[in-house]
């Protein structure tokens, strides 16, 4: 005789999340993502000493700057790889349709997947960048603990927000794609556009020199691209040079404005993804 037990909502979300994690681990994406982040964090932390030939670590601001520069490429890519299949994969396998006949709501399915994919990326980012911070704390050039911790807290927090933003973008594309291959294709194109092409266009806009109006437009456009937002937040937070962004923007942003725009992106995408899922027919 089977025993039927009533499950509270959170437990269902957890059931879905653990299955997703298991799936990602078996797919080896989790291993790849962890390896990349650890390699990246350690390389960036020790890069200076390798060049100098001595064990003198680079300054806090240059570590944060180089981690930020490379994270802008890697975090969206890792998020895409981890989550592009989330819906289109289940649709191809026929399990999404089946799942929807179960006593689970679409919101619970979405929450479970997000918990799993967000959790994997959070663990990878926090552990790797955290170890980078620990190395600076112990062997660093004598920057204060407060400085190091706050810069890394901002880096890790904003990296996680960027990760979740790209997970949600992947979900959206996954929900709207008919095939896995098409989903991953569109997402890589989007990645390429947001991370590389977008900045080139901004530069062109500036070079075209339309005066005050174009500077204003560029500033606005930076707020409209989550990867640029992420860069700006961390450069500002570590008072590091803005790099290519510095060239673009003469305007002084405030950190709260950047952070709240970032959160607005996240909330907006979450709302939109949920809506698309709720409206989706199977």
């Amino acid at each position: 005789m089977l025993t039927t037990v009533k499950r509270p909502n959170l437990q269902l979300i957890w059931v879905i999340a653990t299955k997703e994690i298991k799936d990602s681990v078996r797919n080896r994406w989790v291993m790849v993502v962890f390896a990349i982040f650890w390699l990246l964090a350690l390389c960036m932390t020790f890069a200076g000493s390798a060049v100098g030939g001595t064990l003198s670590l680079p300054s806090l601001s240059s570590v944060v700057a180089s981690l930020t520069t490379i994270s802008v490429f890697i975090i969206p890519l890792a998020a895409i790889l981890l989550s592009y299949e989330a819906f289109v994969g289940e649709e191809e396998a026929g399990t999404l349709q089946l799942l929807l006949t179960y006593p689970v709501s679409k919101s619970q399915i979405l929450a479970g997947k997000l918990l799993a994919h967000g959790g994997v990326l959070f663990t990878a980012i926090a552990s790797s960048y955290g170890s980078s911070a620990a190395i600076l704390l112990v062997f660093g050039r004598g920057e204060s603990w407060g400085e190091i911790l706050s810069a890394f807290a901002l880096l890790i927090a904003s990296s996680c927000v960027l990760a979740v933003i790209f997970i949600l973008i992947s979900y959206l594309v996954s929900l709207k794609s008919a095939e896995k291959a098409r989903a991953v294709g569109s997402l890589l194109a989007l990645w390429f556009a947001l991370v590389l092409i977008y900045d080139l266009l901004l530069l062109l806009l500036l070079v075209a020199d339309l005066g005050y109006a174009s500077q204003w437009l560029v500033n606005l456009l930076i707020l409209l691209n989550p990867t640029d937002l992420y860069r700006a937040i961390n450069m500002l937070g570590a008072s590091a040079p803005l790099g290519s962004l510095g060239l673009l923007a003469q305007y002084e942003w405030s950190l709260p404005l950047l952070l709240s725009t970032c959160v607005a992106w996240l909330v907006g995408l979450l709302y939109w993804t949920r809506r698309v899922f709720l409206k989706k027919l199977v």
């Binding site: 089977l2 039927t4 299955k19 298991k22 799936d23 026929g94 089946l98 689970v104």
Partner: protein
């Protein structure tokens, strides 16, 4: 009404312009096995999805296990077991993990999983990734998934596709057990010979319309096909019994189902034939007759009115 497991009341469903279900009505009593038949694209899967609440009726009303179905209230969902067509599950998980996952979502104890895998002959492969399963193994896993929570209504979309004859037989044997215990089953299939001995009722769909609904006997009765009667002595008797002539074709007698009793009586009483071999039309013949009728009607430009042909 309360003992009806599924009722469709003048239900239509459109995919944009396409009318996938057209003014469909039927009532399926509880504890019965209904075969859902029809050509590719007839609307069978659409009908099943409407019972599940995955699709809304554009017109009409669907009621399932005594409740009017709307997707907002999925109260009945633990009571319904579903096997979708072409399911391939999660490649990277093992059979045991897949079934445990669905058990957890339905609130079924994890202890139920191993015996079920055993029963479905999957115990030996339960710790292998589903990716390495054959089509039939996946199908068995899917069926085990459908009956996990002891559903009151089972919806199986082509459950025996890719199964070997023994496995198909096992599925229908299991289904019989379940229906005997009061479970209602709707089996959508193209394998007419397999389902014929098992069904209580059949619903034949054609282009979204109901072409026929009823027990096999009722279908035979209203499809206009004849009963075959064979006996070696018939050829000789036809000359002396003019009444037989009108039924005589190629060595056999073929008569409408409605006249079968009378003709049998005539053969025994008047002709002293006692061991006449009687063959009723089978499900496949009924099916083909219905499809042919649909074809003719549409070629003549006659619209298929609601109800049966």
């Amino acid at each position: 009404m309360s003992q009806m497991a599924v009722t469709f009341n003048q239900v239509s469903h459109y995919f944009d312009e396409l009318r996938a279900l057209n003014d469909l009505s039927f009532s399926l009593p509880g504890g019965k096995l209904m075969a859902l038949l029809g050509h590719n694209g007839a609307g069978k899967s659409t009908l099943i999805k409407m019972i599940l609440g995955l699709l809304d009726p554009c017109q009409g009303e669907v009621s399932v296990l005594g409740q009017t179905q709307n997707p907002a209230s999925k109260a009945a969902s633990t009571d319904i077991g579903y096997l979708p067509e072409n399911i391939s599950f999660y490649d990277k998980l093992t059979g045991h993990e897949v079934l445990s996952y669905f058990a957890a979502l339905k609130g079924v104890s994890a202890r139920a999983v191993a015996p079920l895998l055993e029963e479905f002959g999957l115990a030996y492969a339960q710790h292998k990734a589903v990716k390495g399963y054959s089509k039939g193994m996946k199908q068995r896993l899917g069926f085990a998934q459908a009956i996990l929570a002891r559903p009151r209504l089972l919806l199986l979309d082509e459950p025996t596709v890719g199964l070997d004859p023994q496995a198909s037989q096992f599925i229908y044997h299991k289904l019989k057990q379940l229906t005997d215990q009061g479970c209602t089953a709707i089996v959508c299939t193209h394998e007419l010979q397999l389902v014929e001995p098992q069904l209580d009722l059949a619903l034949v769909l054609g282009r979204g319309k109901r072409l026929a609904f009823g027990t096999l006997d009722e279908l035979v009765l209203n499809c206009g096909l004849g009963v075959h009667m064979a006996h070696p002595a018939l050829a000789g008797l036809v000359a002396t019994h003019p009444l037989l002539q009108s039924f005589y074709r190629d060595g056999d007698l073929i008569c409408p189902v409605s006249q079968r009793e009378v003709l049998m009586k005539y053969l025994t009483l008047e002709c002293q034939l006692f061991d006449v071999k009687v063959t009723l039309p089978d499900l496949a013949q009924v099916y083909h007759a219905k499809m042919a009728q649909m074809q003719v009607m549409s070629e003549l430009g006659l619209s298929l009115t609601s109800g049966e042909l």
